[in-house]
């Protein structure tokens, strides 16, 4: 390969990694804004914990679990901080950084759903386990060259569906896993005090700053321009330069369509367009397009955005009003439901192999099977992890700490003084 071309690819990958890192403050601000001011230091701290633990653990062990060699396709060899096993065109240290920021994105999704009532110590345990184990394992099945993406003719997926699972940048691998864990975490934890009235009706607990939440969502939107186009992992040559432009366009269109869909659905449903839900709608579109941003047309991207933006409103209502699971920021709907939806819609709307483009149902079947396996893995790990910690250590802070704020009691310092 041309040396300059490889350098160009490397620079693009690093730039994208930096943009994906920038999603961390996006999540932090979004979650801080949607929660109350007495818990702001706590929620910001948790976002740092995710990235700090993720960086060390993924470098030391997780990277090997995900990309290490193995025979079965189910789990790689832990690398113990040694990167020499990896042989790719791109420099391994840069590639590790790129994969680290994706791992940290998956980890940080959960903090918002479990906000305002979780023990900090418990969160540190959770954050370590997802970066060390949950994410790298399912990542190995897919991006690590494992069984779900094994393209050899006698591989299980090719034998069964005639197609392999496709998740370009992580609707399923990153977002739905984070979303499923968020839902189970919030369920194991129970609702915030005062969230549900005695008759079971849901009460509003307005976040302390929609300004922060809005800035967070804009930052995430920008970060996604690295998340999706960066996942091409190359910029040189005609194919790659066209691909990253196409992915950038589909990503942006889906985000805009998602926000617009939510705006109109809430306008019709509640009589006024809801700003707080529209912010989630933008993220719903972004999460939805992530799996198929390389395969769908611009029209397909708009369709994915619109569908995710519409479904989001009903999903948030269903989880809140029917399931009575208290997710203060909507992470389980945005990342879980829309991550699954985007993965499935890729099987329908892909211009190469999608069912609606005459590709038959094999690819859609592969998408259904892949998302089922990945989220089942996340769910089993989530149940074991959160219910295990609940039994051994406890998940929740005391009622008094929750009432007066986690900042004072868990950290001894408050954000607003």
């Amino acid at each position: 390969m041309n040396d300059i071309a490889l350098s160009l690819d490397t620079v693009w990958m690093l730039l994208a990694a930096m943009l994906v890192f920038w999603m961390q403050p996006g999540f932090a601000l979004c979650e801080a804004g949607f929660t109350r001011g007495k818990n702001t230091a706590n929620i910001l701290f948790k976002n740092f914990v995710d990235f700090m633990f993720g960086s060390l653990l993924f470098w030391f062990i997780g990277f090997g679990f995900m990309f290490g060699s193995d025979g079965s396709g189910f789990i790689g060899m832990p690398n113990w901080g040694d990167l020499s096993f990896y042989h790719g065109d791109l420099p391994v240290e840069g590639f590790l950084m790129f994969e680290t920021v994706f791992c940290a994105t998956s980890a940080t999704i959960v903090s918002g759903a479990m906000a305002e009532r979780t023990k900090f110590s418990m969160y540190v345990i959770y954050s370590a386990v997802i970066s060390l184990f949950i994410y790298p394992i399912e990542g190995h099945w897919t991006w690590g060259g494992g069984w779900l993406c094994n393209e050899t003719e006698d591989g299980f997926m090719m034998q069964t569906f005639g197609a392999v699972f496709h998740d370009f940048a992580g609707s399923a691998i990153v977002h739905s896993v984070g979303g499923v864990l968020a839902l189970i975490g919030a369920m194991a934890l129970g609702a915030r005090r005062g969230k549900y009235a005695k008759d079971g009706s849901s009460r509003a607990i307005p976040g302390h700053s929609l300004t922060l939440a809005a800035l967070g969502v804009f930052i995430l939107w920008l970060g996604w321009f690295g998340f999706n186009p960066g996942s091409q992992l190359a910029a040189s040559g005609e194919v790659n330069r066209k691909a990253i432009c196409h992915v950038l366009l589909t990503t942006n269109l889906a985000a805009a369509a998602g926000g617009i869909a939510t705006m109109f659905v809430t306008w019709l449903k509640y009589g006024k367009p809801s700003f707080s839900l529209m912010l989630n709608g933008v993220l719903a579109g972004l999460v939805g397009i992530t799996a198929g941003c390389d395969l769908v047309s611009p029209v397909g991207a708009v369709a994915i955005g619109l569908i995710c933006g519409i479904v989001l409103v009903f999903s948030i209502e269903f989880i809140d009003h029917q399931l009575h699971i208290d997710d203060p920021v909507g992470a389980s709907s945005v990342h879980g439901v829309c991550g699954i939806l985007g993965t499935l819609l890729t099987g329908l709307l892909s211009t190469s192999g999608g069912a609606l483009y005459g590709g038959g149902w094999g690819f859609f079947g592969a998408q259904c099977f892949g998302i089922l396996v990945i989220d089942l893995w996340a769910a089993v790990c989530g149940f074991a992890l959160f219910y295990g910690i609940r039994k051994l250590h406890g998940l929740r802070v005391d009622a008094r700490i929750e009432d007066e704020g986690l900042d004072v009691y868990e950290h001894g310092e408050t954000c607003y003084n």
């Binding site: 509640y270 839900l277 989630n280």
Partner: protein, 115 residues
């Protein structure tokens, strides 16, 4: 010497402030207040509809000599009036004494309202 407390609409604060400064009052305090009343406002947050009975108003506190009470009250009523329910209230009460911290004088002559 009297204390006048007026609870007015936030939107009328600028008008009332200008009117008071251009009349005989050259110092007053104000603060944002939250009141609970019978009227409720419908709100929606993240798909949950709720109503709030919290009403936001501005409270002014003016201490003046007796002869300025009537004109001051008149100014506030004229400028803070919209005719809709919720324009606010004015309370007048006796003030027993006052001291100037700088000079140590006391009595209503230390008030700096104009003659």
């Amino acid at each position: 010497m009297k204390r006048i407390e007026a609870i007015i609409r936030k939107t009328k604060f600028e008008d009332v402030k200008e009117a008071l400064l251009s009349s005989d009052i050259d110092w007053f305090e104000y603060h944002d207040v939250h009141g609970i009343g019978q009227s409720r406002q419908e709100r929606i947050y993240r798909g949950v509809q709720y109503s709030t009975d919290v009403i936001e108003r501005v409270a002014l506190t003016i201490v003046c000599r007796d002869q300025f009470v009537q004109p001051t009250v008149k100014v506030i009523i004229e400028t803070a009036h919209t005719g809709e329910v919720g324009d606010g209230r004015i309370f007048v009460s006796d003030m027993i004494d006052t001291w100037s911290i700088r000079t140590g004088e006391h009595g209503d002559t230390v008030l700096r309202d104009k003659k």
